[in-house]
Symmetry: C2
Subunit: 419 residues, 2 copies
């Protein structure tokens, strides 16, 4: 007889206890453990793939799409890339213990801020079992314990990976509860997890918008998330159009199914008549389909007239919306109405317009003369990312190691008292 | 006929619209407005005090304590100090637009993080009407709109202050909705406010533990708060006892009724027999009462034996708990069990113990050889504070202007595409 409520709470309590011991770990010890995790996964490759095969078989029976089965599979290539990911995390600088902004106060107190782990992170995700290893590695490096809740279709794979990682932790003298996988697939387990605000400090959900909305609306623990990416490019009247075209095409077509792909194009009226036909010719070569405003349809006849519901859609395919705008102000209003605070781009050579766009547009990444596809932890220099946040509190944009930590004040005194 | 739900939501929507216009304001314009707010309050002193008198009269009728009435009163001195606060906020550096960590990526992209306002802040507080002005000033300087919900006993004062501030904003050409006071005293207004997650970005509650727990449990918007301050000092075996005594006395007695006052003293067993009697003598002079563990009572007979429920109590008066501990490990466990992650101090001359304490103790401020009373925004160099957070996400410790902002990524490109 299983008492799910008690079991999940016990996991959260054990995670909290483990987190307490991780704070004192040296960078060397954490890196050694990460590299041992890579070897451990290599050694247990057969076991992991055997367990993965159970998930794949069950998935086939359930009629999962081949794309879904593909994401589920722990092929040699995927296992190799998990191992590479572990070495990469080991090579990143350790944020924990870094002291920022140490200043001397008039009374002689030395005041600084020390980076510390957040504590216990709960990760809720869908099919890819490699997230189990990637997320565990980042959390360990940042000194956090992690509780993972993957999709039910990957349960055997996730349990197998967790058992390998926990065995490695034990061998390294690190609390095995630093990495825990919820071993049951009941949806109720997620509900219980989201009530453990006393023991879990942060929830990161990754997956479809439905999952993320459910988590955000249910959780009593703070959640860092993004629902979707509806990214725009504004082509200014002063844009360098030779630069613009490859950037726009790359933003839409390089990988259309991801959150930082382009979904809407705003073109200044002064260049629309000249530029839209040119762009349409280029789009044809890449099978990019345009759904446009009335004015754009008048300029290029094979643009489909957009319906009201098309504006602000996250297409995740080779379609995009096109709108001719009066000025940058109209672009601002459009982005405010239809954007998802993810990625917004201006293409322009006009200094003042660029500065105003950077300052006033509200999105996790605002860029000039570059592809939307660069809003990614690796590309922006974070090393690796555990997700992207379009919530403003704590982290806005890709989240790396630093975003898995916080800062406390530290003070060196010499007997000061307050008067 | 009032539709409260619609009215509060309208305020939130207007706050969001005003916030959009604040992002583009120059530092100069914000500072000018802050100084005009000070003059405005000075000019409308009579009106403000007349409205305040209504609250005071109602408070007397309701039988409020003289301490409560004192906090409620907008005397000339309090009005002068609000004016001084406004000038101080005007003099602080503007965090908005600051760019941190600009780095060049291998592909030539310049990547940085720009500080931006959070958006709309909701402030929920109890009696002191001066909080209305202090909080509005900080939020305006950080480019945020604010919606204020003060205590019902201060409603006339808060409405009067808001009308003066809004008139000044209008005169300065700034959206008056940047500063709004909820004009009704229904408790239901708070419930409605806490559901406006679409328009309000952050809630800061200030007041008693009951109010704060209610807000934290009800809100769908992120909340930064601290419930209480149960602060400790650990006196190490290597402490400089001449330094220790004034620090301990200051921590407890300088202002016992506040959250950064000392509530628990942990003394290493090697010095307890020598030091406790000495300390007890000093405590007597300051009327400090000790509730102690068995060992402490054996050493000093006039220590009262602590009951189980005394440990971890926020006394807010001249009492404190005393416990003799085996070693620093026992101090760590005690702090973990009874602390409130507010302020924790080590008194020691031992280098390694100091470093370990700073690293491993989990509190918003961890200090060496200094009074607990220094955990305060002004004392730690933030200029002013809007509250203290013992929640780890986003801000841990006193919150100043920087904590009322977040950072977005900005990228300067030259036509880069992703391959």
């Amino acid at each position: 007889m299983i008492d799910l409520e008690k079991d999940i709470q016990d996991m959260a309590i054990r995670g909290r206890k483990a987190a307490r011991t991780l704070v004192g770990l040296s960078t060397k010890a954490k890196n050694k453990a990460l590299l041992s995790m890579a070897s451990g996964i290599n050694e247990k490759r057969d076991f992991i793939q055997m367990e993965n095969a159970k998930d794949l078989k069950a998935g086939e029976k359930k009629g999962l799409s081949s794309a879904m089965l593909d994401r589920l599979e722990l092929s040699d290539k995927v296992i190799d890339s998990m191992m590479k990911g572990l070495s990469e995390v080991a090579a990143l600088p350790d944020p924990v213990g870094e002291i920022e902004k140490m200043v001397k106060r008039p009374n002689g107190l030395m005041v600084g801020r020390m980076r510390i782990p957040l504590g216990v992170i709960g990760m809720i995700y869908e099919s890819r079992p490699n997230v189990t290893v990637d997320a565990a590695a980042l959390c360990l490096k940042a000194g956090n314990a992690i509780i993972l809740r993957g999709g039910s279709e990957a349960i055997h794979s996730n349990r197998a990976l967790a058992s390998v990682l926990q065995e490695v932790l034990e061998g390294e003298g690190i609390a095995a509860d630093a990495i825990q996988v919820i071993p049951v697939t009941d949806r109720e387990a997620v509900n219980i997890m989201l009530r453990q605000e006393e023991y879990i400090d942060l929830i990161i959900p990754r997956g479809g918008e439905g999952l993320i909305r459910f988590v955000a609306e249910t959780s009593r623990i703070p959640v860092l998330k993004h629902y979707k990416g509806v990214c725009h490019i504004y082509v200014d009247s002063d844009a360098d159009l030779e630069l613009a075209t490859p950037v726009i095409v790359n933003s839409k077509a390089q990988r259309p199914g991801v959150c930082n792909a382009l979904e809407g194009l705003l073109i200044h009226k002064d260049i629309a008549e000249h530029y839209l036909p040119q762009l349409a010719g280029e789009f044809k070569k890449h099978n990019i389909r345009m759904l446009g405003c009335e004015r754009s349809v008048q300029i290029v006849s094979d643009i489909t007239a957009a319906r009201d519901e098309d504006w602000g859609t996250e297409f995740l395919n080779l379609s995009l919306c096109v709108k001719v705008v009066e000025d940058m102000e109209e672009a601002f209003s459009y982005i405010e109405e239809y954007g998802s605070q993810h990625t917004e781009i201006i293409l322009s050579e006009n200094y003042s317009n660029v500065q105003r766009f950077l300052k006033e547009v509200d999105a996790s990444a605002v860029m000039v003369n570059a592809s939307t596809r660069f809003n990614d932890g690796g590309e922006l220099g974070l090393g690796v990312e555990i997700g992207i946040s379009t919530t403003k509190l704590h982290a806005y944009g890709p989240m790396g190691l630093e975003e898995l930590t916080t800062r406390k004040f530290i003070v060196y005194g010499q007997g000061q008292v307050r008067t």
